[in-house]
Assembly symmetry: D2
Homo-oligomer: 264 residues x 4
């Protein structure tokens, strides 16, 4: 079973470069399950229902998010669906360890046309980030309730230590732990000894002539002056950053992981 | 001109894997200048004069450090040498934007046997790190005083945004900006439009069956319990992480950058 | 009913100044219940069973702690007592929102010789502090299980916003919310409209010719140089900082709060 | 010589309570020099030229600010005056350790009608705050250039350790170091041994039925849910928080410090 995970889609140039490549990538790799992190898809800041539809139309089965989940108010209402729904809003996740009252869900279990079941889990780190529930304990709790053998975890986190620690912690219990949020792909993709595919960060699908997606002049100016500034999505040098995980659908055990980085 | 930069050497297994590979790498790539980040070389925490000697013996012209600079008191005294010295202690750098009274220096200018001059600059980030002077302004100040055209910058920093922003800020003014500190190699090595080689993090030269070098049980336990714990250097699965930069010695302009990751 | 809360006892000079004054304060104010924050009682860093005994001998019914809970390993074993115990180890609290596996308990319910019941709750903030469970939700959960009407909360936290917010959140549901941890007494003691006594920080019971208890030269030097240093408890100008809360034992409603600051 | 310092004026209710009391306070205490921290005067977020005029009209000689300096763009242009001006824009300070290119100045030297000279210095902390230049070194640098003996320092900072450390560091070199930013008055006002008046925080002049000035429902909700929210200035229970420092104008040595907290 082949799973494609597409890293944080950033702004219109990110959406465009993903649209350009994803069909070919899905087809040539015989991808069964496609997951896209969409937290920056709407101009770099959040996700709207309409842009989520675009990502679903491109082939996503599930969309994950992260700290930018809150940026577009219209998304919060859109996610108010029953837990047992399989409609598109139910397949947009937010980190499972956000406060219990947060709209939406942090885990989704689905079934592919082949009958293959899978779960997608979205978690967020706490080191250098906002105050959320413990992602390690939340992972334990969620895994107790998941019936699928194939479990894909998007761990949206800043610190390499926290991401790697969660990878080891879940090794042998999930199919893959991939990181998002830093917007830079890491070259440490591997299969951990217990059979979990791991990569610290998949990287951004967006404009690489930028500072993690944002127009670089504004960011540099902020570093130089300390003055808060409005950040605009950059456009230049878009790349789609994704990771392909191959696993045994019956056991959920991963046997392959491969980075993909495609530009214009 | 070829420059090899070796990422944070971590503990004895990091030193051993570097010792195993570096001779061959230096020779086969006709490396002219070798720089090693040694901030974790002494058991994962800091650097001693004697271990620095080992790294110099392996071929390092210059050793850089970072936040672990303070860990071994004996290093601080060892670095008390005149600014115009070219002895080994003078070729161990600490971040230039540490407080002015800090022992040691943050920049070194040297000359190779061929007569080629070069400068190495060590800076540390501020985002999610300790309070230091502004690395952007400090870079401006240092560049004003450097006579060499070949200038290699080790930016020891946590946040991808700060590292990428400094890369763009110095593009065209230095030969290379490579990041260290996160201990995970990033797959974003490139030549920026102005001719500066850039990579967000070179990654650790140390045990990869670990959490950024440390025994994983202790780190996981700390995430689970919050209890402070003694962290020991791990040993398993050592890899040497390095980056090779090719540049024009006359102009300092980079034209090639390539990641190297070598295990047992 | 009169409750005396003594702020973070710091080192030997803190213990001495408390020993000098507390008997007189307890007697002259007809104090029924005495609570002492002892997180810095052992040389400024943590608490030992033997020093806890000293504080109990001085009249403490319950000892609270905070982030320095972990500093003395011998305390952790000492706290392994049954939840329904009323022995001294059971009356040493650690923040209730630490991870579930943490030794000890975060709430204690006791009965005074008069038959008056009371509860003491210890919580820790998250803003600018380590990653713990949400203190607001933890407070809700604990209040559900507490049978006493008199409930005293020590909120060990850094940010004034988080402390004040919890005060308002619990107003009318507990007898008092007092803050600890910043080691500086605040002049905002008041009865909130719902009948909860509130003060942002009780302040340290320790040496005030210091930087929050520590020898000032070392701290200033660290600010100037960034160099980590060993911090020693200062001795000069000890003061006992405490807060007296008067409440109706039958309803738990506070009707008086008064700051106490006593030096040599 | 008597100096009145008024803590962070917050929103319209803060301005109103200050307007109600300040005339009487200035007169009854024979105040020579009046300094107001105005960083929250405009609806809780920043300062406008027109609101600054109101504060000057109330008697301020100098207005200090802090991290909210950036909130109102119109202020930034307004502060573009020559360093040797004594006009109102020159008497609005921003932290002196902001980046060098920041509009405005961080120190002002003036002369009272009596011929008495004075300096006001505005600095910002770095612990738990944004990345700025070292306030300790910046203080040294500024003190070198100040001719007045009477020097009043507003240290806008979060951590009690950093504030107290700067107090000790400047003891005997300035007339007063008072803190702002936490919006809670501290009860630790004192004259340090070298003759410097010190208080960790003067407290907010604004609505105390709030969370540090802001409508409490919004803040509590944010703590409970993590959801970013628009914060509005509260109105209830306004108090003016100020500190009166008495000093010898010839030497700059303080001999008295007294807290003032006045409500409706
Ligand atoms: Fe993102
Ligand atoms: Fe993110
Ligand atoms: Fe390192
Ligand atoms: Fe480091
Ligand atoms: Fe404390
Ligand atoms: Fe504490
Ligand atoms: Fe303020
Ligand atoms: Fe502020």
């Amino acid at each position: 079973m082949n799973i494609l995970f597409v890293g944080d889609v950033f702004g219109s140039s990110g959406r465009r470069i993903v649209a350009e490549h994803i069909g070919h990538v899905l087809e040539s790799n015989v991808v069964d399950l496609c997951i896209i992190n969409g937290e920056n898809a709407a101009g770099g800041f959040g996700l709207t229902p309409s842009i989520a539809d675009d990502l679903f139309d491109l082939g996503a089965h599930v969309i994950t998010t992260g700290n930018h989940f809150w940026d577009k108010k219209e998304l919060l209402d859109y996610l108010k669906v029953p837990v047992d729904s399989h409609d598109r809003p139910r397949r947009i996740l937010r980190p499972a360890n956000f406060a219990p009252k947060t709209p939406g869900f942090g885990v989704y279990e689905g079934e592919l046309p082949t009958g293959q079941t899978y779960a997608v889990v979205n978690l967020q780190g706490r080191v250098f980030m906002s105050q959320n529930d413990d992602p390690f304990r939340k992972a334990d709790e969620l895994l107790n309730g998941i019936r699928s053998r194939v479990i894909f975890v998007d761990f949206h986190a800043e610190a390499t230590s926290e991401k790697i620690a969660l990878g080891w912690y879940l090794d042998g219990r999930v199919t893959a732990v991939v990181g998002t949020h830093t917007h830079v792909p890491t070259a440490d993709d591997r299969i951990l000894p217990g059979g979990t595919a791991y990569q610290t960060d998949v990287g951004m699908s967006g404009p690489y002539d930028s500072v993690i997606g944002v127009e670089r002049e504004a960011v540099i100016n902020r570093f130089l002056t300390g003055q808060p500034a409005k950040f605009e999505a950059a456009k230049g040098n878009p790349k789609m950053a994704a990771t392909l995980v191959e696993c045994d659908g019956a056991t959920g055990r991963a046997y392959g992981i491969r980075r993909i980085l495609l530009g214009e």
